[in-house]
Symmetry: C2
Subunit: 300 residues, 2 copies
């Protein structure tokens, strides 16, 4: 079966549409790659590309993206609200189907090494690909940003995993790694009381004693006048959607409030939804190969 | 987006493994086709192939299957428990993704015409492709079987839709059509009382006033000593899995019985499970394009 890996490179350009379009074209011209989505944020001055393919295809696509971005983006004149280290700022690899996290870690190392060699850009490995615990967290790696790189790279704690120990003059440095799929999942409550949403968020999130792979906050949807628990699911294979949903429902009931709906923002792996169906229907020993579209890929 | 259509041809050979293997090979050699499954039943003396692809690919694959089957299978010496009319007995086309029922009806007509012309086999169109209401039902078309064909074909009510009005001497006739995906879905009860399963089956099935696209019966799983409602879902897009599950749960509760599990037998379109997740999670305006694997196919 051909494996499916997703990559979500973030580039430091969200204003000049022609540069973003050329970056997308650089990815798309690699045979076999699927460019699933491109989103630009002018305030952040940053664009997020979503692509999928097998390991070899993604390596080509990321190198092709670098070729364009290193030429077209100059961090010395880049301004935006979002912290960034480089022209291609961060490149995560995400196992979707027929690929393990270890496959993605290996791919991150391979791509990181190739990028450093070909473009003289220092590369940090992060998350599951990190080479030390203090280098796991993206925010920690990015602290100090592009402007702080010359200093940071001198610190032995922050020596790059690949490439030179000084930043690329215009393209800075890049963070490459492997992580589980992120799912943006919001649950809407039948109340305008944002305090209830905040209390529920606190109950379910990891940082306050909740589920390990949940980040959450409570907010008010101004237009609908509806309180929302806004959730980032950082590993649905270990903390599944349906469990979080049921917990939010139970916590809301404790305040006499109903769950009126939920939403998935952006892309979601089929398996996350199939797991929820499996739970609802109490399926006994259901095998992913029974899903017709998946079987199709398996017999390819 | 490349469309996905499924076809589940049934051939009248379930004992001679070499004939079945050659039939599978005849299908598999068509570029682009995916042979998902082959199941042979020696008592029925019949095999069921599951294949998927786009319309053009499936047409090629079915013609290739006929080429082999018409040569290798002789109905004059065929015996088995399952009723049958021909060497290739029935060929349904099933819309899975990016294809409508109308596309499958058009494909059934096209394949039926080509089969009749190339192999001199009379073809009946059935289900959604039927040309008259009394010709919709497969059982009605097949009544009288291979042995009754010469007589049946003389009846103006049963003139074939394509091909000669006498059967092919050895390959008989074939039924080609279009239908919704079938899902075999069984729900297990926390009781040994098969009467409860039978009463629930009666409550949910179409023939007794239940859901339009549900066939069901109650039975006892001897090995587990568990009563089961065994269900055929004939159109999950109109009668969804989760609605039937919830009804069975409610009916069982009326007897003080719990649902202890369920099982999907064989293949199931991803959408049937995603619909169940959508129901559980109360998703608001979820779009199938948000499923990563599906988006991948869309950008192909």
């Amino acid at each position: 079966m051909p494996s499916i890996i997703e990559s979500v490179p973030n580039i430091s350009e969200g204003r000049r549409a022609e540069i973003v379009a050329a970056a997308a074209a650089a990815v798309r011209r690699v045979p076999g790659v699927r460019l699933l989505d491109v989103q630009s944020d002018p305030d952040h001055n940053r664009s997020v590309l979503s692509l999928a393919g097998d390991a070899g295809t993604l390596k080509q696509a990321i190198l092709s993206l670098f070729e364009h971005a290193v030429q077209a983006i100059d961090l010395r004149s880049h301004q935006g609200e979002h912290p960034r280290l480089g022209a291609v700022d961060v490149v995560p690899f995400i196992p979707i189907e027929g690929a393990t996290m270890q496959d993605c870690v290996a791919l991150a190392r391979e791509v990181g090494e190739a990028v450093a060699e070909r473009f003289a850009v220092p590369v940090f490995l992060y998350e599951e690909a990190a080479t030390a615990p203090h280098r796991r967290n993206l925010e920690d790696i990015r602290r100090g940003q592009f402007e702080g790189l010359p200093e940071k790279l001198k610190d032995p704690q922050w020596a790059p995993d690949f490439g030179p120990s000084q930043p690329h003059p215009s393209a800075g440095a890049t963070v490459v790694g492997a992580r589980a799929p992120l799912i943006a999942f919001n649950i809407n409550l039948g109340t305008q009381d944002v305090e209830i949403a905040k209390r529920i968020a606190k109950a379910i999130r990891h940082s306050n004693g909740g589920y390990r792979y949940v980040k959450a906050m409570g907010l008010l949807l101004q237009q609908r006048n509806v309180a929302q628990v806004s959730i980032n699911m950082t590993d649905f294979t270990k903390t599944p959607l349906h469990r979080v949903f049921e917990s939010v429902r139970a916590e809301a009931a404790r305040y006499g409030v109903n769950v009126i709906g939920s939403e998935v923002v952006g892309l979601v792996p089929a398996q996350a939804l199939i797991d929820a169906a499996d739970y609802l229907l109490r399926l006994e020993s259901f095998n992913p190969s029974q899903v017709l579209e998946r079987r199709m890929r398996e017999v390819e």
